[in-house]
Symmetry: C2
Subunit: 309 residues, 2 copies
Amino acid sequence: MRATFPGKTNKVAGPFGAELGRLRGLVEEALPGYLSPGACRAPSPLREAMEYSLMAGGKRVRPVLLLSAGKAVGGGEGELLPFACAVEFVHTYSLIHDDLPAMDDDDFRRGKPTSHKVFGEGTAILAGDALLTEAFRIMAESETASAAPGRAVRAIADIARAAGAEGMAGGQQMDLSAAPGVSTPSSVDEIELRKTAALLASCARVGGILGGGTPGQIDALGEFGTRFGLLFQVTDDILDETGSFEEMGKGIAKDRARGKWTYPVAYGLEAAGARAETLAREALEKIALFRGEADPLRELVRMVQDRRS
Amino acid sequence: MRATFPGKTNKVAGPFGAELGRLRGLVEEALPGYLSPGACRAPSPLREAMEYSLMAGGKRVRPVLLLSAGKAVGGGEGELLPFACAVEFVHTYSLIHDDLPAMDDDDFRRGKPTSHKVFGEGTAILAGDALLTEAFRIMAESETASAAPGRAVRAIADIARAAGAEGMAGGQQMDLSAAPGVSTPSSVDEIELRKTAALLASCARVGGILGGGTPGQIDALGEFGTRFGLLFQVTDDILDETGSFEEMGKGIAKDRARGKWTYPVAYGLEAAGARAETLAREALEKIALFRGEADPLRELVRMVQDRRS
């Protein structure tokens, strides 16, 4: 069964699914503007390569999480949106580079040929580089950066640390360097924390920072985001193992052949399912200090859980 | 003849060479700290790959330019230094990615094997990604970002725009896409503007921004930086053609075989020499509004010119 994350083509699942779908729509509408010729004079075919991957129909989980977290502390959508879009730029760059022959060597992503298959390796590398760089341009040129520069630099620092050598890029390195067969469960945990959870946790914290949350609220959002990120990853891994995502079949076969460890491989499917339950419960506990304003965050947890059903 | 840019091993050329050498020394001393385990928990071999290229003995022209420009408007070295180092991170990432097999496919850089030859392509790609990301972390976590966040976000935006799709990454794309034999002189000009001059101009402007320069001073520094950047590139190209940089011989032969156009190829060596003279004169004119406080900038121009003698 395919995931029912809300979007233009999927039906809405829970009571706040409509709100998540609306936030996702805001992101879809805003994203292309940051690459328009008026915003950025990218030469061809660099612009086409950036647009190809950016508009390839992702679930926009990271921007929706950032928006939901920011709104939970009373932030305005206008001040949150550029940062939400910037995080999607960062995520898209990471997918392009992860798919390269020197990395995971994937020919397809979301049912479409990967960037290097369409544009060649050189342009794919540059499209990733440029998306990452433009993410920081978008944040630093935003109205928020003019109106509240102190919050903006904190947000930029948080995202850079989460995406950099100790976060996402570091996790990808550990994944790349993991020798087949000698991985341990604890190394799987650390790779997932860095590769996936770090940036998702940052999205939640940055929403809190930009929305003017208290230090306690920002910490709680970050703790929520870490659990949510790990839940997201372990759910993906379970879907991989049980083959529910048909387009991922090829990647799984390759991962197995290479002896790569995912959480279900390291701990078994049953333990992975139990862990998902625990992570979901802990995530919800972390935001118990919020009332109804955090319901979209709770809905996000429910939707990731529903992907397994 | 090798360049006489000041450093630990080269003799100082002009009256302000000592000052440029001192600024370069500040950068050399500060750079490794930003990658220390206390600053950034990068896993192995990512840290080693980042350090390998960062500490490979570059001339540090960009950081020295940023520091010199900032001091010309009265900025303090402490507030300028993190941004100067961050720009060297950006420059280093671009060298690692430019050298990849899918790009220029170079085996040696500054007499040492390139990153992908030592660490493999996957790690080299990630080391570049991480250096670029950490550059923004360094800027956004700097004391300047706390004390003067408005200046910091302007500086971050300027560097991101210069390094991104309409600047350095865009120039690299144009270089990559240039069909052999169909390049025109004007396309050579645009590639040089984007690929080299954009980031150097940004260094000069960012020094002015962080140092608290007036809009007029910041503009003048940017105009200076553009000319300086073009002068730097055309001088490099002339040295390539005349073979003065022995270690570049291999790259030139390859460029020629691929039919790549440099300024001397497009216009001829004599015209290139005349253009260098014009650019140097214009660069100096742009900073005529400054007095002795801009002498290190003037010395930078002289040093680049001296490389041709």
